[in-house]
Homo-oligomer: 209 residues x 2
DNA sequence: AATTATTTTAATCAAATGATTAAAATATTG
DNA sequence: CAATATTTTAATCATTTGATTAAAATAATT
């Protein structure tokens, strides 16, 4: 009954279960994953899962919280840095995000699906996203557009475009690869290419009005 | 046992079940939907569902096939029309797609998730997508870039960008709305705006290299 | 080594869930 | 209207699945 007090190194059973849960939940979603699948993937007994995490829901919530954290992590720091220019920030986020997504390609789907299906539940956690999103970066861009007497674009357009260009290729990867006869290695290389291209495209959009 | 021969007008029980299944499946995915939910939503008895569609899987397959059809429908026609210019095609697809997505905002998630989780199963049906995707449109763009001595962009970039700009706002809608304090009506208006903006942005990309 | 605390297991429960069946209600046809 | 086919229902099955329990194995502490 006493659980564990000190979380120590924790490359233990608890972490193995989380690892397995993360892999399966992100790939198949909450409902499609059976607790027995997780147990098997983790190489442990089913009862362990409930012993450590109390329930499937609780375990899922932990995995989801960490995924959301990762989804927004980095962006906040970069966007809130007042010392860097728009260009630097742009290149920073794009590079950061594409690297992250290359390692965790299922993350956007996982997080966005949760937001979509349980918006109320996510409302609280989204505050963490909202803050950096309304950061200096977008203010800087707005000032830039006004200075150059361009029609300022709605922030939603700007965010949708940035996220769309960065994130969508990973969401649509299986389709895009198949259609364009691109294998995994080539796909990764193309994503690398986008690190340089996306900032150029975005700047083009800002100035195109 | 004899099923029905002539599908007639079919605003009947069968269609009611499909309607309910479509609504629930697209919103929550296969595993999260219970056959009893569908029955209740359709206002019929559970046994009816199995009587008409034999199983939950079969019903899902029908809904999914129709969703995929809708997802690619229109694009094929527009992209394969050799008489229209690149600009006309671009504006056509964007307009067409955004209208469709405004009515069925959950469609991309539904279809892309299926492709992602069951790529083998989808391989056959994807042929229908592959054909129009390699259509005259992309050839025209390539020729255009070469003629203007621009570095030609990989087709995957082009497709990812177009789909990203068109589709992503709907996938990320709950997040984007929340962050930007945008309500449903305003969101739809912004999507309308994008019908004009996206073609401009895309053309900017093609010429930016 | 003996005692206590922690971790792991096998067995089992109760509820949920996809599917079936046999019979009743309704519509169609001769 | 009688006979037949179709549609709908209620009741029930057999699995699956999340969770619990009590006991065994292992580790930690004195």
């Amino acid at each position: 009954m006493a659980k564990k007090i000190n979380k120590q190194i924790d490359n233990s059973t608890e972490e193995k279960i989380k690892e397995a849960a993360r892999k399966l939940f992100t790939k198949k979603g909450f409902a499609a994953v059976k607790t027995r699948d997780i147990a098997e993937e983790a190489g442990i007994n089913l009862a362990l899962l409930n012993y450590y995490f109390r329930s499937k829901e609780k375990l899922f919530d932990i995995i989801m919280a960490e995924a959301m954290q990762q989804f927004i992590q980095g962006v906040a720091l970069i966007f809130n840095d007042e010392k860097t220019s728009v260009d630097q920030k742009l290149e920073g986020v794009v590079e950061n995000y594409i690297d992250m997504l290359t390692h965790y390609p299922d993350l956007p789907f996982f997080v966005l699906n949760e937001i979509r299906t349980h918006p109320e539940k996510m409302a609280a956690k989204m505050e963490a996203i909202i803050q950096p999103a309304r950061s200096t970066f977008f203010k800087q861009i707005h000032e830039m557009m006004i200075a150059k007497k361009k029609e300022p674009i709605h922030t939603l357009h700007l965010m949708a475009n940035m996220m769309g260009l960065i994130v969508f290729p990973f969401i649509g990867a299986p389709l895009l690869k198949k259609i364009n006869n691109v294998n995994d290695k080539q796909f990764i290389e193309l994503m690398r290419e986008r690190k340089k291209l996306i900032p150029i495209w975005i700047k083009g959009m800002i100035m195109a009005m």
